[in-house]
Symmetry: C2
């Protein structure tokens, strides 16, 4: 099944306790596409960059079978840039610089051949932009996943709530779930958020794993305990890419299969954080992914017979 991915393609400059980078290629859609490419070769990208964005970074996506027809390249403009510094615990970070550049007036255009994509991944972007993409789909995708962040909740909560009415799966982190719902308990937060529209909610807890909720059930997937977390940037997007990629590959959106998708997403996130930026995602192969999935199975499996 085809996956339409919308989100930023960007430059990041990252500082962690392990080192710092100059401008490197990043952006939600970049991570999502790289991660999804392990599961499907029908990836359609809608995004925007400036003319400063390197061709070989676009080529890397093309080599992963990403159709970049929907990637606008704005002459005379500059690519979105984000710079951040992670604290020692790697769970908190400070934004050092944000230059919206091409994002400031981004008007997403979904090429006609993308308009019947079966799966839609609305990566972290201004909610009104996410909504514009959804509105351009010729038929309602089989599954719409939306990722967002506290920044949009602070500025455009109404737009976000409007978009949420039309999505199937929302992915946010624990603090964002609390902000969106006004509830501290994640179980209570999930109930409130599921009443806003999404049929499924994924709460990402970083090194503490992820929770998948629907109205009746809850599933938990741990993060893999790693010796080193080098750079958490893109982990959530890699998770989302693995999640929707696995669902598209299997073409099965049952709760049981979503559990497997969450495990696959967690595996992709566990790779992402092992090196700076997108590096690790471009180094691994299918065998690495299979081996990592097995590690997750071993990490949580036990045999207590249900009574």
């Amino acid at each position: 099944m085809s996956v339409l991915v919308v989100g930023t393609v960007a430059f990041d400059a990252i500082e962690t306790p392990f080192g710092k980078t100059d401008k490197i290629v990043g952006g939600a859609a970049t991570y999502i596409c790289l991660s999804s490419s392990f599961f499907t070769n029908k990836l359609n990208l809608v995004s925007v960059v400036g003319e400063d964005f390197p061709n070989d970074a676009i080529q890397i996506l093309k080599d992963k079978s990403v159709d970049t027809e929907g990637l606008q390249i704005k002459k005379g403009e500059k690519t979105f840039f984000w710079s951040g510094k992670y604290h020692n615990d790697m769970n908190t970070r400070d934004t050092l610089d944000t230059q919206l550049n091409v994002l400031e007036n981004f008007d997403p255009i979904v090429p006609e051949k993308f308009q019947e994509s079966e799966f839609l991944m609305l990566g972290n972007l201004m909610p009104s932009v996410q909504k514009k993409v959804l509105d351009q789909m010729k038929k309602r995708p089989k599954l719409v996943v939306l990722d967002t962040m506290n920044f949009w909740m602070d500025l455009f909560m109404d737009d976000l709530k409007e978009a949420l009415k039309e999505v199937d799966v929302l992915t946010i982190n624990d603090e964002e779930a609390r902000q969106l719902s006004g509830e501290y308990s994640l179980v209570k937060a999930a109930k409130v958020i599921l009443a806003m529209g999404p049929k499924y909610l994924i709460i990402k807890k970083g090194e503490h794993g992820a929770l998948l909720f629907n109205n009746k059930e809850v599933f938990f997937a741990p993060a893999l305990p790693l010796e080193e977390v080098f750079d958490p940037t893109g982990a959530g997007d890699s998770f989302a890419g693995g999640f929707i990629g696995y669902l598209a590959k299997t073409n099965d959106i049952s709760f049981e299969n979503m559990k497997r998708a969450v495990i696959n997403g967690s595996a992709m996130a566990s790779f992402c954080v092992e090196k700076f930026g997108t590096q690790k995602l471009t180094e691994i192969n299918q065998d690495d992914v299979d081996a990592r999935i097995n590690e997750f199975v071993n990490l949580v499996q036990f045999d207590i017979t249900l009574k």
Copy 2:
């Protein structure tokens, strides 16, 4: 199999965002015994209280088949008292008051009939006291589990390291694992700690679950997502009680069975936090425990076939 439990029997005064208590019965050994009693009726207690400790609290333990012959009652002295206040996140707390009282000169005496107990749970206490108990065992127990805390690491690290050489399983929380090992990564911390003596290490992460390590493997058990965590006091001890109780009941200390024991411990901890103090542990029955175990199975089970 019989379990010898050593630890505090105490008074606690607890304040959480949900309310506060006057002096209520608490203490590590109290929680451990109540929790273990769901798995074994051969529970032997070694501890100390003052003459202010209520008889009916001791009777509650006796009713759960706890042999209290090793519980010293010190005439003219007062029971250990701890008072603490939890912050909003329930993961951090301030100690408001600590009155050692009978603990100050506690000399644990293991009654002869306890000296061949097959399982030994050294609950959180001064390391030298834990060691004294171990030294009184006529034969080496099949399994020795030791729980400790940062307080003892600050004051008696050498004594603790001495005790660790003789234990099979160490249970500590994530911050304590970092303090004991000097490593931030829990995976690295586990390697360092396992080299200190214990064959198994359990790192308790509160609402984020628990990790079980040996030299080759790692297993993760989540905490049950709860609508409300009322009072975290005793959760770690309830976990330990369920863990060793299950191992004693099944008389199987393989890594596979320890995984099941960790799930059972997590289930007991999930009950503990639902009401103040020991209240919930005294209200539930075996059916409740079975149902809770099933919730854990449903929370983490998924069927990805290993390749």
